[in-house]
């Protein structure tokens, strides 16, 4: 086969806009997921893995949103149900229910925690200029969890702050 002809078939960024193919672009990538009908996203570099829901081992006297701990390749990982933590939607465990395991490394420590969400949806590219500050009009989710909003088509995706998510506040345990 003619090499020249083959080379011309390789898509070049900008020339084609193929749905479903992610070119490496300048912006940050985010993993989006669904809680009830709302869309949320976290920095994709923090995502360790996405697991299907399995019943975790309960932690005694833990708050309701801490579902328990699971074994992720020999590491004990706590699982937090974001729907309960944020009070969004119905809490049901079905086929699409997944656990997104996030690792956040700071100087002080590195923590790995799994978060139960209704479904994962997509990978989102967003440049910094596209991220808008969230309006301070209430909402159930405390302000410090939200990094900003990104418009995607008609909808809005809320960027969550992984560092804030990883903090287990003492008052959460009762």
């Amino acid at each position: 086969m003619d090499i020249q002809a083959l080379a011309q078939e390789i898509p070049v960024e900008g020339e084609y806009s193929l749905e479903g193919i992610d070119f490496i672009t300048n912006g940050e990538q985010y993993l989006t997921f669904v809680l009830d009908t709302e869309h949320y996203a976290v920095d994709i570099l923090c995502v360790e893995e996405i697991r299907s829901w399995e019943k975790p081992t309960k932690i005694p006297n833990a708050p309701t949103h801490v579902k328990g701990v699971i074994n992720m390749r020999g590491v004990i990982v706590p699982v937090i149900d974001l729907r309960i933590k944020f009070g969004i939607g119905e809490v049901a465990y079905c086929k699409t229910t997944v656990v997104i395991v996030l690792t956040y490394e700071s100087d002080a420590q590195s923590r790995t925690i799994g978060f139960v969400v209704d479904a994962v949806s997509d990978v989102l590219n967003a440049e910094e200029s596209e991220i808008k500050a969230a309006p301070a009009f209430g909402g159930i989710i405390p302000h410090h969890y939200v990094n900003g909003l990104v418009n995607v088509g008609e909808g809005v995706v809320t960027l969550l702050d992984v560092e804030a998510l990883q903090q287990i506040e003492p008052h959460e345990v009762g």
């Binding site: 932690i59 005694p60 074994n71 990982v77 345990v173």
Partner: protein
């Protein structure tokens, strides 16, 4: 043979620390006239000096040289051993340690104390029995080889090494450099037995040496010590010749020149000849170097020890693979432990091959064989695990051996005469536990000296012997290790502790407490009964930290005390931190692991033995004991099958001397579990000491028995309080 010496520095450091320990313990036990002990101390100092010299740590060499000189005078009986000198020597051990630690951490150190001690050492040397050696101290430190002769002896040494000497990693040049430390050395190579060039084997050393050493202080033992490493591989004849006029021996030099030429001649030709032989190229290299070294050796007059050219005979021959950073911990493991590991791995391999052969064409008739094989595999795995754990185990003397010095220093400082008796120093303990228990133990011992042992007048008044005694015991008890710190001092003053606690608001003034409860108060934060602060202990930051450290290791501390007779602190520690023997129990749908060492027994509760007392507290009559029952499902807020105690299963556990019955739904298997922290990704959970992964991959919580008891107590107290409030309310209403 150019060897990167830096790879041996960790070995040098480890050996130096060992040497320092030998010196320290030797000095503490040193009695006058104990020549063996002085020799041991001297040898340790000598090795440190030699090692430091090899690696180019001049400041260590200089300083150690002073120490060595002083020790040498003691060794020869030219100097009396008196306490003052012992103190200076002990201080200099500290200085050497400081310097070596600085090398290890690659940082600077404060050298004022070192200068002070070296001045003290020089003064001692100056006031010694030998006025001729006055200036030896500091001046020689810059050039340790240059000694002023006074009592000069000429030693004739005939050194005939066996042919394979260089193959064992020994280098005659190094021996000669060591000899040079004693004085002027003339080495003459004797080449009589040299084979012809065609028959010459590069790996064999066919020459021998006639050495002449003119020295003012070397003894025959000194010289023999230099050859200690090769004494089995050579013939050594040493003879002494008293010199009327020192520094006269020159006759050998012309001869030397001749032979030097001979050996130099031999070198290039052998090199040339063998460099054709590809297989032996590398060896040629090394031997050529040895020959070069030999030729240098035959011309020794004032050769300074060449450091980067030669392999140290003490350092291991095989180069360490990784360039170990010095702060990386290392363990010295006995060969027997390694051998048993190798044996076990061998057995494991055999079992594995048996099993895989069995699996090749498996049918049901072979099930029995399979079961047997699996059982063997289980056995192998268990033994392997135990052996591996044993590698981490070190005798507790590693933690104990700092105490003789500590007691020595403290008794100097406090003026109390104290004897330390150590028992069970061979009890083995996990290295991690050992490293972390050191500081708490030091604190407890300091406390025993400062608060425990009374001043001499008080002791005499109380009819005790003048000398206070502190016992340090270590022994195994069940699955844990117990360290006991006992003193025969005044004991804990119960009233003083109680009053202090009231003053600090820790207890109510009218509270009635048992003695043990009062003694427990000393572990409360901010507690100190010492009327005067001393720099030994008594700042009130100690005991709570001690308790916390011990608890973080999974251990606990108990105190017993009898007024006027002394106190005993008992530290209970787990043998190892990583693995736990556990009993699996089921509560509702959850599986928990109860540490086997805490379990007294498990039983089915008989309804007639359950008594309800003081309201809703449940007690189970276990023979003569009444054991409170803790329903785990209630405590942990879980759904459970059996809500009532009748006929339920009770696991009776004991912690801190308190027995409780844990109510569970089912008893499952017993197995060893690996402890994983919950804190890494979550946080500490009350009543749970960690989690583990079971055979099926699921996670199980490990029950923290003392924690559970604490929780149950707190809940009971809360209930009590609520009830009191209700009473008060009712009282107010009435």
């Amino acid at each position: 043979m150019s060897v990167d010496l830096s790879q041996f520095i960790p070995t040098f450091l480890a050996e130096s620390f060992e040497g320092l320990e030998i010196m320290e313990s030797g000095l503490l036990n040193l009695e006058a006239g104990d020549s063996e002990m002085i020799n041991a101390i001297f040898r340790a100092a000598h090795s440190i000096k030699g090692g430091a010299g090899t690696f180019g740590f001049g400041h260590v060499t200089e300083f150690t040289h002073l120490v060595e000189t002083l020790l040498d005078e003691m060794r020869d009986g030219r100097r009396e051993i008196n306490p003052q000198e012992k103190e200076v020597l002990l201080a200099s051990v500290d200085c050497i340690r400081l310097m070596i630690e600085a090398i290890q951490n690659e940082n600077e150190y404060d050298d004022t104390s070192i200068v002070m001690v070296s001045v003290q050492l020089s003064e001692l040397l100056a006031n010694g029995n030998e006025p001729a050696q006055t200036d030896k101290g500091l001046s020689s430190s810059s050039e340790p080889l240059d000694l002023t002769p006074s009592n000069t002896t000429k030693w004739n040494i005939l050194f005939i090494p066996e042919h394979h000497l260089v193959q064992t990693g020994n280098d005659p040049l190094l021996l000669f450099s060591a000899l040079e430390d004693f004085g002027e050395l003339t080495a003459t190579a004797v080449l009589d037995n040299l084979p012809s060039i065609t028959e010459m084997d590069v790996e064999e050393l066919c020459m021998h040496w006639q050495l002449t050493l003119i020295s003012d202080n070397a003894t025959e033992d000194d010289i023999r010590e230099v050859f200690e490493w090769v004494e089995d591989e050579c013939e050594l004849t040493i003879s002494e010749e008293e010199l009327e006029q020192p520094m006269q021996e020159e006759s050998g030099s012309t001869e030397t020149g001749e032979h030097e030429n001979g050996s130099v001649d031999a070198t290039p030709s052998s090199e040339q000849q063998l460099s054709n032989d590809d297989e032996q190229l590398t060896q040629t290299d090394s031997t050529a170097d040895t020959n070069k070294a030999d030729s240098q050796a035959s011309n020794v007059t004032a050769l300074s020890p060449s450091t980067d050219d030669n392999n140290s005979p003490k350092a291991p021959k095989t180069p360490a693979k990784s360039k170990a950073k010095t702060d990386q911990g290392s363990i010295r493991v006995g060969v027997d432990k390694v051998d048993s590991l190798i044996n076990l791995v061998g057995e494991l391999v055999i079992t594995q091959s048996m099993l895989s052969e069995l699996g090749n064409d498996f049918d049901l008739s072979k099930v029995e064989k399979l079961t047997a094989g699996l059982e063997q595999l289980l056995q192998n795995t268990k033994e392997l695990q135990e052996s591996v754990m044993r590698i981490r185990m070190l005798p507790i003397s590693f933690a104990f051996n700092r105490f003789p010095r500590l007691i020595h220093d403290l008794s100097m400082k406090t003026g109390k005469d104290i004897e330390l008796i150590i028992n069970g120093e061979n009890t083995e303990l996990d290295k991690t536990v050992m490293e972390q228990i050191g500081d708490p133990l030091v604190h407890l011992v300091r406390n025993a000296v400062d608060h425990g042992i009374e001043p001499v007048e008080k002791r005499l008044a109380a009819g005790k012997s003048e000398k206070g005694t502190i016992w340090l015991d270590a022994y195994h008890q069940g699955g844990s290790i117990v360290i006991e710190i006992r003193d025969d001092g005044g004991g804990i003053n119960r009233d003083a502790v109680f009053n202090k606690a009231v003053e600090k608001g820790l207890v109510e003034p009218n509270a009635t407490l048992t003695d043990n409860q009062v003694f427990e108060l000393i572990f409360e934060p901010g507690f100190s009964t010492a009327k005067q602060l001393s720099d030994i202990s008594g700042r009130g930051v100690g005991m709570d930290v001690v308790k916390r450290n011990i608890q973080s290791l999974g251990g606990r501390i108990q105190v017993e005390s009898t007024k006027g007779q002394g106190s005993t602190f008992k530290v209970h520690l787990p043998l190892t931190l990583a693995i736990l023997d556990g009993q699996l129990v089921r509560v509702g749908e959850e599986v928990f692991v109860v540490p086997l060492i805490t379990i007294v027994e498990s039983l089915q509760a008989k309804p007639e033995l359950i008594n309800k007392v003081s309201g809703d507290m449940m007690l189970y009559r276990l023979r003569e004991d009444n054991v409170p029952v803790i329903p785990i499902f209630q405590l942990f807020n879980l759904p459970a099958e059996s809500q009532s105690v009748d006929n339920s299963l009770l696991v009776v556990v004991e912690a801190d001397g308190q027995k409780v019955g844990l109510m569970v739904d089912d008893l499952l298997a017993q197995q060893q579990v690996v402890i994983k922290s919950l804190k890494d990704n979550y946080q500490d959970v009350a009543g749970i000491s960690g989690a583990t992964i079971l055979g099926d991959g699921s996670v199980a919580m490990i029950v923290d028995v003392p924690g559970i008891i604490q929780m149950a107590l707190e809940i009971a107290q809360q209930k009590q309080k609520q009830r009191n409030n209700v009473y008060q309310l009712e009282g107010a209403l009435n």
